[in-house]
Amino acid sequence: MSLDFLRKEGVNEDLIKGVEDYQKKYPIAEESKQRIPVPHFPFFGKEVWEDALSALLCGQNLLLVGPKATGKNVLAENLAQTFGRPMWNVSFHINMDAAAMLGTDTFKNGQVEFRPGPVYRCAQEGGFGVFDEINMARNEAMAVLHSLLDYRRTIDIPGYEMLKVNPACRFIATMNYGYAGTREMNEALMSRFAVIKMDPIKEEPLTRLIRTEFPSMKKEAEQAFVQIFLDLEKKCKEAEISDKALDLRGLIDSLHLMQSGLEAHRALAMGITNKSFDEYEPALITDVINLHIPGEFERKDIFED
């Protein structure tokens, strides 16, 4: 996000100055610019912005903790863009191992060559590395990152040279916690991060998000869609439904479908309801939707233009 956006959010001016100084200190190479993310959504929330900027300016790694749809990845993208750094995203599914992160040997032209992985390149080029769902990683996979994430800031690849991490480099990890089905993160890894606990998205930022994306939406409709999401969030927290329906991207996608002319219930079915394959759950989700928007709710009922 632009620094003007941060000023509008009311972020502390010293921190904004800190970002400016960082950008001057670590200019970005032309060939790396294409990796600077362009977030689709801005992240709203002054306190979270300030916490995150403070930690990153101090050279710390950041761990964003929160349930689904709290904007963890949106914030990570926003941060990389604000600092003007290329970003590498590593999704920690269970199959991720050290080789997939750091690099692996390949055989080319009769020779074994090292092919660097995303974490290696990020450390080398001074990027922002995003470790998505870090608590899903196997402990043995993460152990190789310990030296990278603590004061040593080095990676030793057996058989190759030791890499010193570029001083501009920062790592941002995300993890889902607090909902059923999440795992604990091991203490050694946790101690290497400054942690921001992110609350489920609240009414006000969600409204702003929808308003930013759909400026022509009628207030009444906007309120209804916000409430649908908040009600589903609550239902999910109470374990009445699984978190498949708690899909902010799905809601936004549905609204785009409505903008293109599709009737609201059908659009929400595609974006939200149909994502649940449970025998009974879709009816519970449909009830929530019906308790906020009338049948045959169409584009003209939703948008001004």
Partner: protein, 576 residues
């Protein structure tokens, strides 16, 4: 299936109430279903939820309870709900514009619905309301009806108390007051049959107790603790006179025949009933229900066991919402942990770990697959055994333990993890292992509700019995989850391994040490053991820790059980 469907409809109706009230703890006395298909009525359940949102339900419940004593209970409760519909609609509409649409749909559905329900005062009033909603005249001609209808328009500014007072006055004015009627006029003017007839006029709002699937919390009956202490006392009385043959017959009659042949049992006892358990017996059974052919004490035990099954099931149904959530949470946790059980299989690949013996292929055959990559394969190569302490000391908590075991079993079933459940108790020298479900069975473990306590608990021998039931310990990884109070106790002595003539009582520290030794022996053979302790046990967990070490879960509340059990199971799964 019908029950399951009904449960689901009720759950859906409850969810509508929770959606609009925002309070997932509320347990409404009223839910609304459509008259023809008995589907949850979206609008009327929303009205119930909104009443929870805006009004003091304690006061309203008092009023409903008061009305319930009248012979026109359903009529009055319908009228009160109609009044509430009008007032909560006005309050909520500015925040929820869709309500206008839903109300209109409700009105249309009412007139499109079955004619058969549209009789009586409550329906007349309701019809008037829906006519108005559709922009028509209320079609009330009689001044009495007009007046009553007018009286059902509550002021949104009234408090709950004011609404209650107003409604009491309204019923007094327009109906012969129940206070006047009850003892005298009721029998003449509104006799019981007329009252019943009025109640029969199919109210839209159904009372909670619409079927036996809804249960009020009942006080524990005096004979709640069956088998347990009674059988225990009976045992003490019988010990002196009963022969070994009679003891065995008693065990078979009460618990069912052995799942093993006589020769197999002989081998098993030679293996396991040794050392400290010399002279004791094991009995493995699938259990038995029904008292056909049994007499005397055995017959009483079987009858009580059948009653206990009903009590266990009732308890589960009463708390089904909480347990269903526990299952859902546990399933989610287990599924995450299961991802850890993907195994890596080496396959030739273009990247990965270099295999020198394959390099020639790269040089001469231009095959770049000179590395070993890793292919992930899902192999749930472990099983879970759930062993319930079925001794008399657990008598008070039988229903809770059965429900907890069912929750764990159901979560395992939904995750496709092979499991088996059994309980153990010790009586007349036999440690009886009652198997409710085996690894091979895939159905829901409803038989665990047969769980019924009696006798002593010789935990050390029970762990040996579990070893037998687990089969070959080298064929797959095993997790044994033991629901227990960690207080082993038996009337048969514990043999001293150093001196076969010397015996000790099987209780306290010696029994704990024996159980801990058996648990350690299983651990040495690769079995992971988790102790699940209900919060009801007195004192600390020091004794339990001697048996289970850190693999101990103390369940304090139902809603926390999944978290504790899930964490313990996931830890074991992920560290295999």
């Amino acid at each position: 299936m019908a029950k399951r469907k009904y449960d689901y409809k009720r759950r859906r109706a409850l969810n509508i109430v929770w959606d609009v009230s925002g309070d997932y703890r509320c347990d409404p006395d009223f839910l609304s279903f459509t008259p023809e298909h008995h589907e949850p009525n979206l609008y009327l359940n929303a009205i119930i939820g909104l009443t929870y949102k805006y009004y003091d339900m304690k006061l309203l419940k008092q009023l409903f309870d008061e009305l319930a004593t009248s012979s026109m209970a359903d009529l009055f409760s319908d009228l009160l709900w109609l009044g509430m519909e009008g007032v909560v609609y006005q309050k909520e509409l500015p925040h929820r514009p869709v309500l206008a649409y839903l109300r209109r749909q409700q009105a249309l559905n009412y007139f499109n619905g079955p004619l058969s329900i549209r009789h009586g005062v409550a329906q007349e009033m309701q019809a008037a309301r829906w006519h108005e909603v559709l922009g028509e005249k209320p079609k009330l001609f009689d001044p009495w009806a007009k007046g009553l209808y007018q009286g059902l328009t509550f002021d949104p500014n009234w408090t709950t108390q004011q609404i209650c007072d107003h409604f009491r006055a309204l019923t007094k004015k327009y109906f012969v007051s129940r206070f006047l009627v009850r003892e005298s006029l009721e029998k003449v003017i509104i006799g019981k049959n007329l009252g019943k007839f009025l109640s029969f006029l199919v109210p839209q709002f159904k009372k909670l107790n619409e079927s036996d699937l809804n249960f009020q919390v009942r006080k524990r009956d005096a004979d709640d603790v069956i088998a347990g202490k009674e059988a225990h006392d009976g045992l003490m009385a019988l010990l002196t006179g009963e022969t070994a043959v009679k003891n065995y017959q008693y065990i078979v009659t009460c618990f069912g025949s052995s799942i093993y042949s006589s020769s197999q049992m002989l081998d098993i006892e030679r293996t396991y009933c040794t050392g400290p358990h010399e002279g004791c017996h094991l009995h493995f059974t699938r259990g038995r229900l029904g008292s056909k052919g049994a007499t005397g004490e055995a017959s009483r035990w079987l009858v009580n066991a059948a009653k206990q099954r009903a009590r266990n099931l009732n308890y589960y149904k009463e708390n089904s919402e909480a347990y269903r959530k526990s299952i859902a949470r546990l399933v989610a946790q287990l599924r995450t942990a299961l991802q850890q059980t993907y195994m890596k299989l080496p396959v030739p690949a273009k990247t990965g770990e270099l295999v020198p013996s394959l390099i020639w292929r790269g040089l001469y055959l231009d095959d770049e697959r000179v590395f070993y990559g890793k292919e992930m394969q899902y192999t749930p190569d472990f099983t879970v055994d759930i062993m319930l302490d079925g001794s008399a000391s657990r008598g008070e908590y039988q229903r809770v333990i059965a429900a907890q075991a069912y929750v764990i079993a159901e979560a395992l079933r939904q995750c496709g993890i092979p499991y088996q459940i059994y309980s153990f108790c010790t009586i007349r020298g036999y440690t009886v292992m009652t198997v409710y479900q085996t690894y091979r069975e895939k159905k829901k473990s409803l038989s665990v509700f047969n769980y019924c306590t009696t006798g002593w608990n010789r935990d050390g021998l029970a762990l040996r019995g579990a070893r037998q039931l687990m089969g070959d310990l080298s064929s797959s990884k095993k997790i044994l989850m033991m629901l227990t109070d960690a207080s082993p106790n038996d009337d048969r002595p514990l043999r001293d391994s150093g001196n076969i003539l010397r015996t000790h009582e099987y209780k306290d520290a010696r029994a704990i040490a024996d159980t801990a030794a058996e648990a350690a022996s299983l651990r040495r053979d690769g079995v992971r053991i988790i102790g699940l302790i209900n919060d009801e046990i007195s004192g600390g967990l020091a004794e339990a820790e001697k048996i289970f070490g850190k693999d101990l879960v103390r369940v304090k509340k139902i809603d926390k059980m999944a978290e504790g059990v899930g964490k313990a199971l996931c830890h074991q799964i992920s560290t295999f």
